[in-house]
C-alpha cells in the first residue's frame, strides 16, 4: 500500500508541474484589447485557473478511486 501512496504523490507532483506549465503558457499571457477593463481579463484568468484546478481534482479523484478502492471502501 505504501508504494501506491508514493506513486500517488509522484503523480500529484507531475500534475502540479504540468498544470503550472499550462497556467504560464496559456492563461498568463491572455490579454484583450485596451478598451476592455483589466478586471474582466483577471476574471477570465481566474475562471480558467479554477477550471484547471477542477480538472486537477477530477483526475486525482479518479486516480484515487482506481488506486485505493480495492483496499478501502467508504
Amino acid at each position: 500500500m505504501a508504494m501506491k501512496i508514493y506513486s500517488f504523490i509522484f503523480v500529484m507532483w507531475v500534475l502540479i508541474i504540468i498544470g503550472g506549465g499550462l497556467v504560464v503558457v496559456f492563461v498568463g499571457p491572455i490579454s484583450f484589447s485596451k478598451d476592455i477593463e483589466p478586471i474582466i481579463t483577471s476574471g477570465v484568468k481566474v475562471f480558467l485557473a479554477l477550471f484547471l484546478i477542477f480538472i486537477w481534482v477530477f483526475i486525482l479523484t479518479k486516480l484515487k478511486n482506481w488506486v485505493f478502492k480495492t483496499e478501502v471502501k467508504s
Partner: protein, 329 residues
C-alpha cells in the same frame, strides 16, 4: 554572507533551545493544573498534557523577533504576526470546541498582516515554465493559503510525533529550497520553524509526553503558509507537504463537506494488541492513516515512521523542484 550565517546560527539555536528547555516546565505546569487529555491510542488511561502550542509560540516568536533585529524587513514582521494570530485561533479551539467552519474562516483573517504589510509578490513561480503575474488571483491565494496550511497541518496531528516530525521535515526541505533560490532571509526564517518543530518533536514523538494541541498544529501550518507566501515559494511549499494534502483530499472527497474532526467517525480502530487497523464502520472517512493500515494493522510508531518517510519523499521532490525553478524550457 557572514552576517547571514551568524544570524542563521543564532536564531536556529534560540528556536531549538527555548523549546527544548521550556517544554518540560510546561509539561509540569499543565499536569499540575490537570490540563491533560486521554491518549486514545494507548492501553489504559494514559493522560497527556495539552496544549504544547504555548512552548512552540515562545520558540518561534523569540527566534523570529531576533531575526527581525538582524533583517528588519516587512516579510519577517508578517511571519511573526501571522504566527501569533495562527496560535490565537488554535488556542481558542483548544479551550472551546468550535464548529468545522471556525478555523478556516478565522485563519483567513490571519492572512491580513501579509496584505497590510505588502509582504508578497503577485508573481507565481512554476518550475520549468517561469512565472505568471496574477495580481487579483494572487490576493485570493493569500487569503486561502493560511487556512489551507493551518488546517492541513492540524489534520495530520492524529498520532504521537506525526505533526511535529512532519513539520520538521517539510520546513527543512523548504529552507533548503529557499537557500537554493538564494532567498536567504526567508530561508533563515524557515530554519526557525524547522528547529522549533525539531525541538518539540523530542517531547512529542512516540510515546508523547505532550500534545501540541490545535494551537501548536495550527501555528505550525500558519507559519509554514506565511513563509511560503513571503518567500515566493508557494508551489515548492505545496509539494513538500503533499502527504498532508493527500490526507485532506482523501478526507474531503469521502466526507464531502468541511467538518470538525471530532464530529466524524474514527477511520481506524484497535486490534487486541492495540495496533491500528482500518475500521469496519460504514461511512467512516478515508484518511492517510487508514490507507497505511488498510492491508495489515500497524503499531502507532510504525505508522508514524511511514508518514515521516512519505514526508521525506515529498521533501526530496520539493528540493528537486527548487532546482528546476532555475531551468526554463
Amino acid at each position: 554572507m557572514e552576517e547571514k550565517i551568524i544570524a542563521a546560527i543564532i536564531v536556529s539555536a534560540i528556536a531549538f533551545v527555548s523549546i527544548y528547555a521550556f517544554t518540560p516546565i510546561l509539561i509540569k505546569f499543565l499536569e499540575k493544573r490537570n490540563l491533560t487529555v486521554k491518549d486514545a491510542n494507548k492501553k489504559g488511561n494514559v493522560m497527556i498534557p495539552r496544549p504544547g502550542g504555548i512552548s512552540i509560540l515562545i520558540g518561534i516568536v523569540a527566534s523570529e523577533i531576533t531575526l527581525y533585529f538582524f533583517f528588519p524587513i516587512s516579510e519577517i514582521l508578517a511571519i511573526i504576526i501571522t504566527s501569533i494570530l495562527g496560535f490565537s485561533v488554535g488556542i481558542i479551539d483548544d479551550r472551546k470546541v468550535m464548529g468545522g467552519w471556525f478555523k478556516p474562516v478565522t485563519l483567513a483573517f490571519c492572512a491580513a498582516p501579509i496584505l497590510l504589510l505588502g509582504a508578497y509578490d503577485s508573481n507565481l513561480d512554476f518550475p520549468l515554465f517561469g512565472s505568471v503575474k496574477i495580481p487579483s488571483l494572487y490576493l485570493a491565494l493569500i487569503v486561502f493559503m493560511i487556512p489551507i496550511t493551518g488546517n492541513t497541518f492540524n489534520s495530520i496531528d492524529v498520532l504521537n510525533g506525526v505533526v511535529s516530525g512532519f513539520t520538521t521535515i517539510a520546513s527543512f526541505a523548504l529552507a533548503i529550497s529557499l537557500f537554493i533560490l538564494q532567498n536567504y532571509e526567508i530561508g533563515i526564517a524557515c530554519l526557525c520553524l524547522a528547529f522549533a518543530s525539531l525541538a518539540f518533536y523530542k517531547y512529542h514523538k512516540f510515546p508523547s509526553r505532550i500534545f501540541p494541541g490545535d494551537s501548536g498544529a495550527v501555528m505550525f501550518g500558519a507559519t509554514y503558509g506565511v513563509i511560503a507566501i513571503v518567500g515566493e515559494v508557494e508551489v515548492i511549499a505545496a509539494i513538500a507537504i503533499l502527504p498532508a494534502i493527500i490526507n485532506s483530499f482523501l478526507f474531503l472527497s469521502s466526507v464531502k463537506r468541511i467538518v470538525e474532526h471530532r464530529e466524524i467517525k474514527n477511520p481506524t480502530s484497535h486490534t487486541d494488541d492495540f495496533k491500528l487497523k482500518s475500521t469496519d464502520e460504514n461511512y467512516a472517512p478515508i484518511s492517510l492513516v487508514r490507507l497505511l493500515v488498510a492491508k495489515k494493522p500497524l503499531s502507532e510508531k510504525q505508522i508514524c515512521n511511514e508518514v515521516l518517510k512519505l514526508a521525506m519523499f515529498s521533501g526530496v521532490l520539493a528540493i528537486i523542484t527548487a532546482f528546476m525553478m532555475g531551468v526554463k524550457i
